[in-house]
């Protein structure tokens, strides 16, 4: 057994955004690091994310999740991290060193680590209702694995339960895969996820049924329909014909290894349930740290910062950096985390162009970004500095239209696809509107497409004047359509498939 026990300074369980950054950060301080993951590919949930991420440039905002995963993996490898993939940590024995027992295809392997960082993520919650065991009811993570990784269509018409970011994002991913989304149901009165995510669905004509709940599903061998009830109305539930019900009803931090080591857990509802006491430094167990969803469910950018922090803490624990270095390195991270952890308040906003838009000069960027969310790719990618967000990163963008050159970069990079460019000819008789577009069907110059408003309303057929697809736009096209001046300010996209 002794022969098979490798020894490292830092063992990191979980190769998601938190684990990868913890590895980069600890390796950078000179530690010998091993990153363990049960999957064949590193990246955690990132590998399933085909949409563009929010956040700042340092958190790879504007990139798609799977691209971030491979980027971080290469960065961690370059920093010297060793990866132990396809291994499941089933036990930890002893605290000094921590001896990890890993199940592999060839049997158990052991690893001794002086310090242990748990970046084990979270597990999805389920929701029980009559019929919930029928084939066709699955969680958002499962449906992402099927659709985005294995390219299998689980159904043709999906009812999404949960209007948090996961529910909204996965609904949009389903639309990109050509699957129709019947509705998004949430019992809360407001959409819990970002407004811009909800807006992408609204544009596609997907009803957002807040204040509704699912009462059950019907079907013999698989889901045939779902019963949905308006919680504010005495009326009977409506039956919606769907073949798949997707559950995106929150996540619970995976803290079993903390429990196994006898670590103290506290309940924090806002973080998804029981989390290790003490934040990144698990209290009572020297050398044990937690990061990412395992220490409280949050966004990927927060997980990355927490991972960096855990790596620094572990390095300090090992004596690889001084206390002063630790303080210097962690100050910026704490500031960033404080910004990122600002609660995002729900907004109820429906957009039509405002009077100030109409009073504007010939060219105008429309930014439908009403919510204070941590995101700034528009600012970073504007070649003329016409867009200002600054700090905190949750500020809403301000546009100086006098500086705008109309390049359309902001339209292309906005992860919320909430930037539009409105242009008029000098006589004011003809107008053009540019919007971001991704996925199928492909669109070409000269095509006639059905223009839709922000609420999915069909406005009329318009002709595509230009399709701009740069490599830097990461598989997004900026589509410019020509329309009359009375129509153009209202266009927010084009219809696609059944949800169009």
């Amino acid at each position: 057994m002794g022969d098979r026990t490798a020894k490292v300074d830092v063992a990191i369980v979980g190769a998601g955004p938190a684990g990868l950054w913890a590895g980069i950060s600890a390796s950078g301080a000179g530690a010998v690091v091993s990153v363990i993951d049960e999957n064949l590919r590193p990246g955690g949930q990132l590998v399933k994310q085909i949409h563009k991420f929010f956040g700042s440039a340092q958190h790879h905002a504007g990139q798609r999740g799977m691209a971030i995963a491979s980027g971080l993996y290469h960065q961690a490898e370059a920093a010297g991290c060793r990866f132990s993939l396809n291994r499941r940590v089933y036990g930890v024995y002893g605290r000094g060193p921590f001896r990890l027992a890993m199940a592999t295809e060839g049997g158990t392997e052991y690893l001794d680590a002086r310090s242990l960082i748990l970046a084990t993520g979270a597990s999805e919650n389920a929701l029980a209702f009559p019929g919930w065991t029928l084939p066709g009811v699955m969680t958002a993570g499962a449906i992402q694995t099927l659709v985005n990784l294995q390219r299998v269509v689980p159904g043709h018409r999906v009812l999404m339960i949960g209007a948090g970011n996961v529910g909204l994002i996965v609904s949009y991913q389903l639309l990109l895969a050509g699957i129709s989304v019947a509705a998004v149901v949430d019992s809360k009165p407001d959409v819990g996820g970002y407004w811009v995510h909800a807006a992408k669905l609204a544009k596609a004509g997907v009803p957002l049924l807040t204040g509704h709940t699912i009462l059950g599903v019907r079907g013999e061998e698989r889901v045939r329909s779902a019963l949905v009830k308006d919680l504010r109305s005495p009326r009977q539930p409506v039956e919606i014909a769907v073949d798949t019900v997707c559950l995106a009803v929150g996540m619970t931090p995976s803290v079993r290894l903390v429990s196994l080591l006898g670590g103290h857990l506290v309940f924090e509802g806002g973080k998804g349930g029981f989390v290790p006491a003490g934040g990144e430094t698990v209290s009572g167990i020297p050398g044990l740290f937690a990061a990412g969803d395992a220490s409280g469910v949050a966004e990927a950018s927060i997980a990355m910062e927490e991972g960096k922090m855990a790596g620094i803490c572990a390095s300090r624990y090992l004596g690889l950096i001084s206390e002063k270095e630790e303080q210097e390195k962690s100050r910026g991270i704490r500031e960033t985390l404080a910004e990122l952890r600002q609660p995002v308040r729900p907004v109820r906003e429906e957009f039509s162009p405002s009077l100030s838009l109409f009073s504007s000069p010939v060219r105008r960027v429309i930014m439908e970004c009403p919510q204070e969310i941590p995101c700034n790719p528009c600012e970073k990618n504007c070649p003329r500095g016409a867009i200002k967000i600054g700090r905190p990163i949750t500020n809403r963008p301000q546009v100086d239209h006098a500086l705008c050159s109309g390049c359309g970069n902001c339209v292309a990079v906005c992860p919320g696809m909430a930037c539009y460019l409105l242009e008029y000819d000098r006589g004011g008789e003809k107008a053009k509107l540019s919007f971001a577009y991704e996925g199928w069907p492909l669109v070409h110059r000269g095509d006639w497409v059905m223009a839709v408003a922000g609420d999915g309303r069909k406005l009329g057929r318009v002709q595509v004047e230009k399709v701009k697809s740069l490599k830097a736009y990461s598989a997004t096209s900026v589509v410019t359509v020509a329309a009359g001046p009375e129509l153009a300010p209202y266009i927010r996209g084009m219809a696609r498939g059944e949800n169009g």
Binding site: F351, S352, L355, E486
Partner: protein, 395 residues
């Protein structure tokens, strides 16, 4: 159509509906025709202002004042509330010229009935607290009225139908033929309508509609652009606008060109007459940018929208974020002398034309009565000679 109507009314806009209603009140058998539906031309695009202050002296002013009086009691007669409301109009005066002009109006005959007054910018804020009067020398005050134009259309329609008017939508007129025996046959895509008399109230399309007849009608289009915003809580209590004489000068120049039958050489053929008011539903109605370019178009211009929105924000900066629900453009008839075409056609004495009104709503009730008087061969209380359609071909 075998039967013979007493009167065929062509055009189901504001004037046509009112005329049909008045005729049916006099127990005439009336057919109402339109190439589309109700009020699909300028009527549905109307801003609903009941304006009397700019009526020119003479017949125009007499009819306007009578129309104003009739309109204030009309909703009781029609049995339908079309949101008629006496309203304070505020017009910002931004130049010495305008100030002088306004002072002249204060001494005019309309001053008393319409409550003309000059307010200081500070005083005007008592009427409209959100009005930013920083650029204004003074504010011209008058008491006029507004209606909901769509409701007024419907009120007339309902009353007319109740009294037995027969309604033929989607019935485009193609021509007229004389049948003798004091009869006219109106040819339409749905067959022939025989009538003793015909009243044409087809707005901007009247000239085209009458083009099969050898009558000279120098008419052009004015394109009026307007917008409506989302509903807001009660915010504005007045109808606020600019006090400008641009339009009158422009109309004179263009009227002369039109009469001479030549294309206007003017570079700028548009002007803004801002009026912004809050309707009873809470929506702000903003009008109107007028374009005298005679080419018909069915899309708004960004310049026009920009002018309007810019002016609204100049006087009400607080409305910046208010969302615009809809914009539109509508053609309105324009005559060379800016006076209506009201009266029988030359050589076709049983065809009566009623179009080209500058402020349609205020004139609608009185015009309807006059047209009905004509159809009944009754004595008219006014001499319409000034407005006779034949006046342009006579020199």
């Amino acid at each position: 159509m075998k039967e013979t109507w007493d009167v065929v009314v062509v055009g189901a806009g504001m004037v046509g509906l009112a005329v049909a209603y008045e005729l049916s009140r006099r127990n005439l058998r009336v057919a109402l025709l339109d190439k589309g539906g109700l009020g699909q031309g300028a009527s549905a695009a109307n801003c609903g202002l009941v304006l009397a202050s700019d009526a020119e002296p003479g017949l125009s002013r007499d009819l306007t004042l009578e129309g104003f009086r009739l309109l204030s009691t009309l909703s009781a007669r029609l049995g339908y509330d079309f949101e008629f409301e006496q309203k304070t109009f505020l017009q910002a005066l931004i130049s010495e010229t305008e100030l002088a002009e306004a002072e002249e109006m204060l001494n005019g005959p309309l001053s008393k009935p319409l409550h003309f007054r000059l307010l200081t910018p500070e005083e005007s804020r008592r009427y409209e607290p959100y009005l930013d009067t920083k650029d204004a020398l003074a504010v011209f005050h008058s008491l006029q009225a507004v209606v909901n134009p769509l409701q007024l259309l419907f009120a007339y329609y309902r009353a007319a139908r109740r009294q037995g008017v027969t309604w033929f939508p989607k019935t485009e007129v193609r021509g007229f033929s004389d049948y003798g025996n004091a009869q006219v046959a109106v040819q339409t895509e749905r067959g022939e309508f025989k009538a003793r008399k015909v009243i044409v109230a087809a707005g901007a399309w009247s000239a085209k509609l009458l083009s099969p007849l050898p009558v000279e009608l120098p008419m052009a289009f004015i394109q009026g652009e307007a917008m409506v915003t989302e509903a807001l809580p009660s915010l504005l209590s007045c109808c606020t606008g600019l006090f400008t004489s641009d339009r009158i000068d422009l109309e004179k120049a263009l009227g002369a060109d039109l009469l001479a039958g030549k294309q206007s050489g003017l570079e700028e053929t548009s002007c803004l007459e801002l009026d912004v008011r809050q309707m009873q539903g809470g929506n702000l109605l903003i009008g109107q940018k007028t374009d005298y370019n005679s080419a018909y178009r069915d899309t708004v211009s960004w310049n026009g929208m920009g002018l309007m929105a810019g002016q609204v924000l100049r006087w009400f900066p607080t409305l910046r974020a208010v969302r615009v629900l809809r914009t539109w453009v509508s053609p309105v008839a324009f005559t060379p002398d800016h006076q209506p075409l009201l009266g029988p056609l030359p050589h076709f004495e049983n065809i009566f034309l009623a179009t080209g009104f500058k402020s349609t709503i205020v004139l609608t009730p009185i015009v309807a009565e006059l047209a009905a008087d004509w159809a009944c061969d009754a004595n008219m209380p006014y001499d319409l000679g000034e407005f006779r359609p034949a006046r342009f071909g006579e020199e």
